[in-house]
């Protein structure tokens, strides 16, 4: 009813904002930094989760061939493997290649003196994403039954360990994200309380000239929301910059190491962060106002 003319609402907010712009910039910066933390934690969670998903599926295996296997057997095996459903990559590493790789890396004379059968020829396999650990194991066992195959290593136990480790990482990151969330809430809350502190006179005067609680609190709540949103946007932009710097350095390495290219936060997560910023800001304002505006 009274006091709802939008121009006054705007005037009040604007007037409030103008007089404290340095304070606002500061608090938005604090918020942005807090949101960078949140975004970083989310980023770690997102990427670790992606890595875990990928690894729990992306089986690899090394097929160790018998010493006396003939080149024809090898090419037959490779051909057969290549046409097997679920296997995406087949690479033959001859005994000489293996020796070359290992002995050249070290200066150890004893190693160089080892016979050829110390370096068995192998076929390295990569499985499709859809192939899970159990299927990989089954393929390996069938391969072992072949004449030319000596043994097959599926690294299954290692994959399991790694997957568990990554799950641990996800858990830790989620907890960190929660802590950061608390930090964001506390920064917003204390900033709002302190802004309020600074505008004590303004609020007192408004109440004394007969402003309703709504009239007094609206600009503050709008401002809280705006600050929260600005902080979230700033945080996302900052972590985007950070991410692009990091990615420029590590992308290739990570992609080969981990098997997945790092990704930035999905759009939905960003939207969520901005919404959380706005809601958190508005409600922190409202909470800190409640007592001050009464009467």
């Amino acid at each position: 009813m009274l006091g709802d003319d939008p121009s006054y609402r705007f005037l009040g907010t604007w007037r409030a904002g103008r007089s404290n712009w340095r304070l606002q910039v500061l608090s938005v910066f604090s918020l942005a930094v807090a949101f960078v933390c949140l975004a970083s934690a989310l980023l770690v969670v997102t990427n670790l989760a992606a890595v875990r998903d990928r690894w729990s599926r992306a089986g690899r295996a090394t097929v160790y061939l018998k010493d006396d296997v003939s080149p024809e057997d090898v090419s037959a095996l490779v051909k057969a493997l290549e046409s097997t459903a679920g296997i995406t990559r087949v690479r033959y590493v001859s005994s000489e290649d293996a020796r070359h790789e290992i002995v050249n890396g070290s200066g150890d004379e004893q190693l160089a003196a080892l016979p050829a059968n110390a370096f068995p020829s192998t076929v390295e396999l990569a499985f499709a994403n859809a192939v899970d650990d159990r299927e990989t194991g089954a393929i390996a066992l069938k391969l072992r039954a072949l004449r030319s195959v000596d043994t097959v290593e599926t690294y299954q136990r290692w994959t399991e360990k790694l997957s568990a480790l990554l799950t641990g990482g996800v858990t830790a990151s989620v907890m960190l994200a929660l802590v950061v969330f608390a930090a964001v809430a506390s920064v917003v809350g204390s900033t709002m309380r302190l802004l309020l502190e600074k505008r004590k006179v303004e609020i007192e005067v408004l109440k004394l000239v007969g402003a309703t609680a709504r009239f007094v609190s609206r600009p503050f709540i709008v401002e809280g929301a705006v600050q929260g949103i600005a902080g979230a946007v700033g945080g996302i932009v900052l972590s985007g910059l950070l991410y692009s710097v990091v990615r420029g350095r590590f992308d290739d390495q990570l992609a080969t190491l981990v098997g997945v290219s790092p990704v930035f936060l999905p759009l939905s997560a960003m939207a969520l962060m901005i919404a959380v910023g706005g809601i958190l800001g508005a409600s922190a304002s409202w909470l800190s106002l409640r007592k001050a505006v009464q009467l």
Binding site: L2, S19, V201, G210, A213
Partner: protein
Amino acid sequence: MLTAPIRQRSGLGRRFESAAAEKPIIVCEDVSKSYQADQPVLRSLSLSIERGEFIFVTGPSGSGKSTFLRLLFRAELPDDGVIRFMGRDIVRLRDDSVPALRRNIGVVFQDFKLVPEWSAFENVAIALEVVGLPSRVIRTRVGETLEKVGLSGRGGTKAKFLSGGEQQRVSVARAIVGEPALLLADEPTGNLDPQLAIDILGLFEDLHSLGTTVLFATHDRSLLDIRDRRVVVLDDGKATDVTHGLPSFDWHEQDSGLRVAV
């Protein structure tokens, strides 16, 4: 005439007015107030103020003038007693009815209560903004009122950059811009030169002639002498009406421990 736009809009205000046609605008019955248990400021004070009166409130420093005025617009609650404004008991008013009460009352605060960061214009305009007047009306009204208090051309200056007397006049302008039913002026001329003080008193008299009830708390005896008005003296927690001829009361003879060195 000037009063119309505000009174029409503040529907709550009209409720107060129609409720009490001929009754006194303010009735205090046995009002007590103390901030510290052993030092009562007001002791079962009783006072009745008729609609349209112009009253000077005076008394020594610390006698409770400001406290009494604060009780009337519910900036403070009494420990005991009843205060009626236009027939309604404002002690038992619900919190969300307080703004409506205050919109009917203009107050000149002893410490001005201006927002230092706001301009003089904004400080005056806020009294109309809270009522929700359109900005066009606010602009003309505030401009007129600033001119009345001798501050035309200073509207854009931040309150903190105004001189003491200028700040006091901004506070006066904010109190009168809404043409309230009741005007409470707490020492509104303490920082003004004698001529300006008389001019401000004149503004209050203009308002009074339009129907506003005025309570004017002051120490300035020269103002008290100008017209033959009702004078209420607050002392020792009680209100006493003084028939004109003030020089007869000497508070300090009994209760001041000061050596008068002059």
